[in-house]
């Protein structure tokens, strides 16, 4: 807005300046015309002076100024003619000058021819004198008029100059105002900028503080979780350890009971054989069926309980194992694991294929545990009605490495896909031995390595276990001690 006003003012100033220059040029021209008109009079006067001198003395040298004037005058009138075309006095002036020159010429011609009297008579007729007077009057009037024009033009140019000055002053004021506005605006935007910066600074500080708090919270939570985890590990250890002590008694004394029963039975049979007679049916049943059956069930249950406790103990111990990440040559590692199960695979007629093996940084023992569990499961749960095919393939996905163990075994029902990772849980027909520990162990390890393990499967078609691990892990979750 300010710039538009300023631009208009500058244009006006320019236009006025051009006009001022034109006015001044006109004034200069008027001055020139006036000078040239007065020059006409001087030439005419000079010509007359020459004529008078010649007439008095008869000396030809006086005619020089006459000849000069006679030669110059038509040129001079022609020069100012266009300028004074509108002047009412110019035409009469030119006529008067011509008349005067004609009169002078004639008297000079007569004097040259010796006719002095006739020449004198013309002079005395006062015709020349009157024309001379006309020339003076006309020149004076033209000069006066041109002076008026000059004065007018100078006044106009003076006004123009004043106007230009005024416009320039206005422009200056506007400029100053504009500068003020700009400076003010600049100051304001600087202030706003500073305020924004301060606000930003404040936001940063708050953000940093928030981050700090968050960090502290995360650390506190992590410490809590670690403590909780440690507690669970210790708990599992103590529980399993302390559960084993009474179990040992049950197993031990059941064994004693079994031995004692056996001895008793032997003794009774021996006595009966020696002394004859028949054992009452219910006593025989108790000795031969009830007691052994009860003992068998107790033994089966305690054996099972022992396996479970041992599994918990093992998981708790492995949970406390320190994991050490190292760069693993997965091809070698997987070949090693495959060799340990290849015998089993060959027995069930299964084919084991290892595909791509992108390297990763992880704990060697944990990886061996994970893959041997997955491979053993794959072999264990093959479909006996078709030749087994088990493949391992790895692929890098961004910062992750994904390893898949795929089989064409009996598959897992959709509702069991999560359940199989739970401790002591198994899926499908329970026709192969197992405690439901392997996959729980695998999942716990995958989590500790900073990864995940998932299963996709179709019942009767096959399963695929996908292990996702960071190619280069963060700190491993190691329980101290």
């Amino acid at each position: 807005m300010g710039a538009v006003v300023l631009g208009a003012v500058v244009c006006a100033s320019l236009w006025l300046s051009i006009r001022l220059v034109r006015d001044l040029q006109q004034a200069a021209r008027s001055q020139e015309i006036r000078a040239q008109t007065i020059e006409l009079l001087e030439q005419v006067t000079s010509a007359e002076t020459g004529q008078r001198g010649f007439l008095l003395t008869g000396k030809d040298s006086y005619l020089q100024s006459f000849r000069r004037a006679k030669q110059a005058l038509p040129r001079m009138t022609a020069a100012i003619g266009p300028e004074l075309a509108d002047d009412p006095d110019f035409r009469p002036l030119r006529a008067a000058i011509e008349d005067k020159l004609g009169e002078l010429e004639r008297t000079i011609e007569l004097a040259k021819a010796g006719r002095h009297d006739e020449a004198l008579a013309i002079v005395q007729s006062d015709f020349g004198e009157r024309r001379m007077q006309d020339v003076r009057t006309l020149v004076a009037r033209i000069a006066e008029r041109e002076r008026g024009v000059l004065v007018h033009d100078i006044a106009a140019s003076g006004r123009g100059a004043a106007f230009v000055a005024a416009v320039d002053a206005v422009a200056f004021v506007l400029l100053v105002l504009l500068a003020g506005v700009i400076a003010n605006g600049a100051r304001r935007s600087v202030r706003q900028l500073r305020r924004a910066q301060e606000a930003q600074q404040l936001a940063y500080t708050e953000l940093a503080a928030g981050r700090e708090r968050l960090e502290q919270t995360v650390q506190a939570r992590t410490a809590e979780l670690r403590r909780a985890n440690e507690e669970i590990q210790r708990f599992a250890y103590i529980v399993s350890h302390d559960l084993r002590a009474p179990l040992l008694n049950i197993i031990g004394f059941t064994s004693e009971l079994k031995n004692a029963t056996g001895r008793l039975h032997e003794f009774v049979e021996l006595n009966l054989a020696r002394e004859g007679g028949e054992l009452p049916a219910e006593v025989r049943e108790a000795c031969e069926a009830d007691l052994p059956e009860a003992i068998r069930f107790i033994e089966a249950s305690t054996a099972k309980m022992d396996r479970l406790i041992r599994a918990i103990l093992q998981l708790s111990r492995e949970g406390r194992r320190v994991l050490v990440p190292e760069r693993l040559d997965m091809a070698t590692l997987l070949d090693g694991i495959a060799d340990t199960v290849r015998h089993q695979a060959a027995e069930s007629g299964a084919e084991l294929v290892i595909g791509r093996t992108p390297p990763l940084v992880s704990d060697r023992w944990a990886m061996e545990q994970i893959f041997s569990n997955l491979l053993e499961n794959a072999i264990k749960y093959l479909n006996p009605s078709r030749p087994g095919r088990i493949s391992i393939d790895g692929v890098r996905e961004g910062t992750l490495v994904v390893y898949s163990v795929r089989d064409n075994g009996r598959g897992i029902a959709g509702r069991d896909l999560e359940r199989i990772f739970e401790l002591f849980r198994r899926a499908g027909p329970q026709d192969v031995p197992g405690e439901g520990i392997g996959l729980a162990h695998v999942r716990a390890l995958a989590r500790r390595l900073g990864g995940t393990i998932e299963c996709s499967s179709e019942l009767g078609v096959g399963s695929c276990f996908s292990l996702r691990l960071p190619a280069v892990p963060g700190p491993m979750e190691n329980v101290p001690g």
């Binding site: 350890h241 302390d242 084993r244 002590a245 009474p246 179990l247 040992l248 008694n249 197993i251 031990g252 004394f253 059941t254 064994s255 004693e256 305690t302 054996a303 022992d306 111990r317």
Partner: protein, 143 residues
Amino acid sequence: MNAVPVTILLIEDDPGHARLIEKNVRRAGVTNEIRHFADGTTALAHLFGRGEVSKSDPVLVLLDLNLPDMSGTDILARIKEDAMLRRTPVIVLTTTDDRQEVQRCYDLGCNVYITKPVEYDSFTAAIRQLGLFLTVMQVPESG
């Protein structure tokens, strides 16, 4: 054979385990006196409370690691630190087969480490072998 009969100190809080161990030791033909302590305090009181003379009486310690009042490894350490008792054979009997714990017991000077396996037969076999071992063992004169 040593003229002074070896006394077996059984330090075991679980009476069932104690009974099973005793039975199996006896079945192996060991007739030595067996003194049973159900906690670490009374066991230590007995070991260290005896007079200097009788302290040199040959004993063999069957030690359980999980005691209610102290850890069996503490008792093991006390025995192995004592100038008079340090030659006393100590057989650790425990339900744990934790490698670190086993190693620690050997570091402390335990002579034999037997886990109490839940497969009862192998346990009794181990105890009977231990009993046979005890019948032929000569406890060195201390001092």
